[in-house]
Subunit: 337 residues, 2 copies
């Protein structure tokens, strides 16, 4: 076991299947002797006026203080007068880039082989501004906001990521032929940053064409960077290519180097508590957290154990066509470690 002081990381187990898959991460981390001490926080049962949401101020402070966190699925409580949990986290922690690696899992067959993409999504503005109003009865408007600051920041993150992860190409996805000012500004910022990275190939692809090319031949792409809504759409499309959100990790990067990894699938209340959930997305998200902490050895070991377990096919949860429980699948991963 590690002699250095453990790293504290915030854990939001989340709702539904969240606690079960979080337990799986804790067990795998223990077995791999990852020097992390979890600080667990739960979604509150009333609105915290400081966050205007069911997320408590203390839980956000925990991520700010620790700098790293892992989040399970959260079911936004029903009712009015509060902000969505996901959006609260993004806004309050200024999580400006959402990074989703998406690669074919060896041994798990879909229609696509050898998918190996990274989508990097601007996570704070664009179509998610929340600014909407009714002009007159029957006529409503939403504002899409693009700023130079946020565009440069996410573009910088994308190129830096490409460079430090041995990637060769960054594609900026846009619809600047229609939204010339907003998407035009986004592209302008990407071009400015691209000039500082002459070793990375830079290209611009219109979103409709990008989606067509992705389903025809995803190998055409490497790192994709884009405004908020396009990232929402394309990251889910890419997840679909390799089997769905149950298999794809996600990590949010905030100002000051904060990293909040998360499973982006739902809380699956129908199978909650039944030991049936697939913890893969949360496990692989936890791996991205380890990489963010430069714990690459641990990250590699755990990632290999997960991929080998799925690849061998003996232990798979029901969503992957198997009949293993969450705990059996987790044990199989631990046995690989």
């Amino acid at each position: 076991s590690s002699a250095t002081a453990p790293i504290r990381a915030t854990l939001f187990p989340g709702d539904g299947i969240g606690p079960e898959i979080a337990e799986s991460v804790k067990q795998v981390f223990r077995t791999a002797e990852v020097p992390i001490e979890w600080e667990e926080h739960y979604v509150g049962d009333q609105i915290d006026p400081r966050t205007q949401s069911f997320l408590t101020w203390e839980s956000l402070e925990s991520v700010r203080k620790n700098g790293v966190g892992l989040k399970g699925p959260m079911a936004t409580p029903i009712g009015k007068g509060h902000r969505s949990l996901n959006l609260t986290l993004r806004k309050e922690l200024n999580l400006y880039a959402n990074v989703r690696p998406c690669y074919s899992l060896p041994g798990y067959k879909t229609r696509y082989d050898n998918v190996n993409l990274i989508t990097i999504r601007e996570n704070t503005e664009g179509e998610y501004s929340g600014l909407e109003h009714q002009v007159v009865r029957g006529v409503v408007e939403s504002l899409k906001i693009i700023t130079r600051q946020a565009s440069l920041r996410v573009a910088e993150y994308a190129f830096h990521y490409a460079k430090t992860h041995g990637r060769e190409r960054v594609s900026a996805i846009h619809k600047a032929n229609i939204m010339q000012k907003t998407d035009g500004l986004f592209l302008k910022c990407c071009r400015e940053v691209a000039e500082k990275y002459p070793e990375i190939t830079y290209e611009e692809v219109v979103i409709d064409n990008c989606c067509m090319m992705l389903v025809k031949n995803p190998a055409l792409f490497d790192v994709l960077v884009m405004p908020n809504l396009y990232g929402d759409i394309i990251s889910d499309l890419c997840a679909g290519l390799i089997g769905g959100l149950g298999l794809t990790p996600s990590c949010n990067i905030g100002e000051g180097g904060i990293a909040l990894a998360e499973a982006v699938h739902g809380s699956a209340p129908d199978i909650a508590g039944k030991n049936l959930a697939n913890p893969t997305a949360l496990l692989l998200s936890a791996v991205t957290m380890l990489r963010h902490l430069n714990l690459h050895d641990k990250a590699d070991r755990i990632q290999n154990a997960i991929l080998s377990t799925i690849s061998e096919g003996k232990y798979r949860t029901a969503d992957l066509g198997g009949s293993s429980t969450t705990t059996d699948f987790t044990k199989a991963i631990c046995d690989h470690l």
Copy 2:
């Protein structure tokens, strides 16, 4: 040959490969003895002040008068001070619904079998409002406009289409969890129309989830209706599932029953004039025009001839892995008639 007076239809051969593939349509229509007389119009070489674009007022008047038209690919001329040709047509002719049938071509293998979808796109507003401005340096906004009138109109078209084409389900695609007012109004209108069609199953699907489901299992969908940008994205994604824009027809429906069918692929200047272009998208678009005119016998005969030719595989253009010229492929279709 038909004894009744021929129907006049406007033809925009368009640029690049446009004239070659338009010639293919004319030949197939002649062979099938379709009672249509083409009225050809070309993109002008200067801006017509009445349209603010290179499209002449006369050409738009021709579509208005005839009520039906067919359009090849148009390369928007470079320069400032004029509107895009596609957008001019949509605005001036009030082409409120863009209908794209997307089905697997028998014998032409992609990763997907049995795709059979119809995307119906609102074509006049949403993210295509053209309203954008700079708030301060480095901060720009685009307005997305959703109106009750346009949403009801396209929803009505979608349900009517479903009913009259033996379709069972309409899915409204949206992001109302984020854009509650704009996409919320769109959904509200779809729900209102859905109530008038109890025999059609109605569902609402968030766009990111829709894209994931489409690439995992497109058979989950039937007719999809959605705001402008989502339609732009999803129709191209669907085209990718079955092989690309070279194979998918498109038809725009305007107020007063106007139908302007179009090939949505590019003008492919690199192969223009070389007798290499694939006329399938324009031919299948011409078939949708015939259906709009209730010439279903002719439409069926021509569609079958096209599909049989592709399916047999002896005559295919280079984009489909064959080595036929445009004229040989066209002749093969005519031989099937």
